[in-house]
């Protein structure tokens, strides 16, 4: 799991049977108490009105193992609607399949101040299942769990080694030589999480559960690929680099962008991926963002 905190926004991505949404009430209280930010809107029955909220997840593999509100998408949406007044929920993909994707997103609030920044925010996420067994092996580490040997910090060392051996630190072609920050951890008995930060401000994160029968890996990134690669690389090549590491039997790709040109270019670029057949391709207009969802299966 990972948490990324910027001055004005945060991203929390949690795995397993975590209870992500149960932090909302306390989080919003802390932000108001500690920072004095006024987040409640008097026009919406006292509900919170941050600039934008996204909540998403692929459908669970074992929904019955989840706790409380996370047992069903409708419960999660009801819970979110207790906090936010202008949310919309989407079920993306085929409802009759166990591999669709769920999204909750609020309408953007009007921008209060005029900002000089015209940053094009974009997020690429690749969710992979059925990792090739030879690839999955790379994410199994043998070490003993022993609190007494805490000085060794083997989990971080093994995480570092996995990052290097798999080439996951070379997903992006860092032609501009921006600063690269890395943090990875290899779990016992298996599993891997890593956070990579480029240019002090963009991240990509990977989470891998290589267990046979229900293996899964995720890649999420807000790195502006053309910027850091000096226009030498695009997101289709990033996708190819990620797929080469995991060789999944199936994956879905989601891409949020404010720039429809970028989104349409990616949709064209990934029409034909070697060894994979496209199963779904859906584009949504979401207020000030566009969303591309595509799902592929190995031939």
């Amino acid at each position: 799991s990972s948490l990324f905190i910027y001055d004005h926004r945060l991203t929390l991505k949690t795995c397993g049977t975590t209870t992500t949404l149960l932090c909302l009430e306390r989080l919003l209280d802390v932000v108001q108490e500690q920072l004095g930010w006024r987040l409640k809107n008097p026009d919406t029955n006292g509900k919170y009105s941050p600039f934008k909220v996204f909540y998403s997840r692929r459908c669970f593999m074992f929904p019955l193992k989840q706790r409380g509100i996370h047992k069903s998408w409708s419960s999660e949406v009801d819970y979110l609607n207790q906090f936010f007044s202008n949310g919309r929920s989407y079920l993306v993909g085929r409802n009759d399949q166990s591999n669709h994707w769920n999204l909750y997103v609020t309408e953007s609030q009007p921008v209060i101040a005029t900002s000089n920044s015209s940053q094009n925010d974009e997020t690429l996420e690749v969710l992979m299942t059925g990792i090739d067994p030879s690839s999955a092996k790379q994410f199994v580490s043998e070490r003993s769990v022993d609190a007494a040997s805490s000085n060794a910090d083997e989990g971080h060392l093994l995480g570092y080694n996995i990052t290097k051996s798999t080439g996951l630190d070379r997903v992006y072609d860092n032609r501009t030589q921006v600063n690269f920050t890395h943090d990875a951890f290899a779990f016992t008995p298996c599993g891997y999480s890593s956070n990579m930060v480029l240019d002090e401000q963009f991240y990509y994160t990977l989470h891998v559960t290589p267990e046979k029968g229900w293996s899964y890996a995720s890649f999420e990134s807000n790195v502006p690929v053309r910027q850091v690669s000096n226009n030498e690389q695009d997101n289709s090549q990033v996708l190819a680099n990620v797929l080469a590491v995991f060789q999944p039997a199936e994956f879905c790709l989601t891409f949020f962008s404010k720039d429809s040109l970028t989104l349409n270019q990616l949709a064209q670029l990934v029409q034909n991926i070697k060894n994979y057949s496209k199963r779904d391709r859906i584009i949504y207009d979401l207020d000030d963002y566009q969303l591309l969802y595509m799902r592929f299966e190995k031939r």
């Binding site: 991505k13 306390r26 941050p50 909220v53 909540y55 600063n179 943090d183």
Partner: protein
């Protein structure tokens, strides 16, 4: 690419947790992803303390984040901080 230096420059690291963490049966696969933009840009953050610098999410102390993450059933393994963000690696 990453260098070995990245193992020694954490902003925070919980070595005891990292040594003792056993994730057997912890993983389910698909993650839950929550993203909140309190403001569209950092420049839009209001100055609420009448001081020269604005207070931002990155000024919230670590113990508060630990408390919030407990509600999520996550613990902080390690943190890397850069000029513009904090990146937390969490248990689970």
């Amino acid at each position: 690419t990453v260098t070995i230096h990245e193992l020694t420059n954490h902003t925070y690291i919980d070595k005891e947790l990292s040594a003792a963490l056993d994730s057997t049966d912890a993983f389910e696969g698909p993650e839950k992803l929550l993203e909140i933009w309190f403001y569209a840009h950092s420049e839009d953050i209001p100055n609420t303390n009448n001081k020269a610098s604005k207070r931002t999410l990155r000024d919230i102390p670590l113990d508060q984040w630990v408390e919030i993450l407990k509600l999520v059933k996550c613990e902080v393994l390690s943190i890397k901080s850069t000029k513009q963000m904090h990146a937390f690696l969490l248990s689970e």
